[in-house]
Point group: C2
Chain length 329, copies 2
């Protein structure tokens, strides 16, 4: 989907936990807390709080109040996406619930761009989050169990990011403009190892990047960077190799948010993961640097693994999906 009158990213917000704030990208995030509960009673409520705060920060940065938004696009990793529904309920805004696993930030941003570009909305926002403790409880083991992780495993980011998108003539300022949106297909190459999500998601990332370059005739050097959401170091290497099979060489023009936010392999395995990984990095590090003139063009690719614990127990493969947005200044 190409946008003739590119919607403007007019507000961004990010909030993270202690580990993320102490990492190498810590300076870029708007807010953080040293306590995983963020003052709430449960981790689930804490994740809802993160979404509420991220949207509030994004609205502040856009100079808007929430009644000026037409629509929210949101989702998360928790069963039935309760971080979004409970977290954002108080805004009392029309709500479109999404499930794209870790691709949710880009899925929501893509939908927001299509709504604004097509005239269906003037201003809307995309929000998502993840939380290490809610994800471990739901997808893996109780934290108290202290399960060991294989080297291909990743570490779920505790954090939330929100983006406000509006029509050009309504924007007070611009962090960037959404020049195209590519919704991806569900892909799988037979990976069914829950501790190797990078390998499960790499085919979807490579598929949507290939589709984007095939459709537009552009090449990797047209971009400062092609950025994937949370493939981690293992998945990022696989994606580069899969792209070479389609004669697309992204060397020197490729970054992965998971590797940037948690580069310490000893502690975090292959890097950060979760909806919050791409959401916090996009809405801080990348868009703040674009606003500062450091980047001209980014191809931002959100990657999500669509399995459930039940489908894994039933021996199924891990299907994955990826969506891409071209963000230019």
């Amino acid at each position: 989907v190409l946008t003739e009158q590119p919607p403007v990213i007019c507000g961004i917000g990010s909030i993270v936990g202690k580990n993320e704030a102490e990492g190498p990208c810590g300076q870029w995030f708007d807010r953080s807390d040293t306590d995983d509960l963020f003052g709430q009673k449960t981790w689930e409520k804490a994740e809802g709080y993160l979404q509420r705060e991220a949207l509030s920060l994004a609205l502040q940065s856009a100079g808007l109040t929430h009644p000026q938004l037409d629509l929210l696009f949101a989702g998360d990793l928790q069963n039935q996406c309760i971080a979004s529904s409970f977290g954002l309920m108080g805004y009392n805004l029309p709500f479109v619930g999404l499930y794209g696993a870790c691709s949710t930030m880009i899925e929501g941003l893509g939908l927001a761009a299509v709504f604004v570009a097509g005239g269906a909305a003037e201003r809307c926002a995309a929000v998502t989050s993840s939380h290490f403790c809610t994800s471990e409880r739901q997808f893996r083991f109780p934290l108290e169990y202290g399960g060991q992780r294989p080297p291909t495993a990743q570490w779920t980011v505790t954090g939330s990011g929100a983006t406000v998108v509006c029509r050009e003539d309504l924007a007070a300022g611009a962090f960037g403009r959404i020049r195209s949106v590519t919704f991806g297909r569900i892909c799988q190459l037979g990976v069914n190892d829950i501790n190797n999500m990078g390998a499960a998601m790499a085919p979807a990332a490579a598929d949507v990047i290939t589709a984007y370059f095939d459709d537009t005739g552009k090449k990797p050097s047209d971009f400062d960077f092609i950025v994937t959401g949370d493939l981690g170091s293992h998945g990022a290497e696989m994606t580069k190799k899969l792209l070479l099979l389609s004669d697309i060489d992204v060397e020197g023009h490729y970054l992965d948010c998971g590797c940037l936010i948690f580069p310490d392999r000893e502690q975090y395995g292959c890097g950060g993961s979760g909806c919050g990984c791409s959401a916090t990095m996009l809405n801080s590090y990348f868009l703040k640097r674009m606003a500062a003139g450091e980047y001209e063009n980014l191809l931002f690719v959100g990657t999500g693994a669509l399995m459930s614990p039940l489908s894994i127990f039933q021996g199924e493969v891990i299907p994955a999906v990826a969506h891409a947005v071209h963000i230019g200044r």
Copy 2:
């Protein structure tokens, strides 16, 4: 969201289980099976099969093949929406995953309409499903336990419905046209009884219907029927009463899919529920009758409860959301 050039509903498909086929609406559904597994190994795979078949039937009825679709909008009730991801993976189409609980059919249809009306897609489809056995396993008790149900409980529909939406000039025929879409807000009035979903969802239904009439200045008598997805007899009564508080009297112009598909209170409690309830009824009974000239205007309201088993265990209320589409001939 109003559409100036209304997108056309050019294809519909529905497939149901044994109970639905033997009920009073049985004649309207395209296909059914006497076995809940539909030839699959697990109920989860069976629900995926239902989505695959419903989309295939909808494509047939539109005279299209799947590569002619630009985009799929889909979701379901299973954790991480695995019925949609596994069921529709084989179509190899761009995929936008949704979570709107039982409002998913109308959420997807609304997004499809906005994409087509705004020029972001030429043809796309919305699909959703539910399955009695996957829902019981996930949200309630193992089937073998034989838990008793209170009188306000409903019965999850086993079935899937799919709708193909396209631009007017590309349509071979029309079941109806989408004249407006209203995305609803998350509402709750303190209900936290998992066996009384009708009461939890009624405030959201009333809110979006009120918003629609406030925005458009129309009145209930402008419609053959205002149709809610799966409030059941108890929720439907509550919705009528809540609407009266806003001076909207829908008496004589109101139906609920849950009451139509499972009217037998002894066996099914307050009626049918689940994403498949509104999906199968919209894509058979209602749109076939509209195509036959029996209806001129329907306001179709999908209602979804956004709790998870975990949020219920943690003592939270049940937030709900509803979306509305005005379908005219």
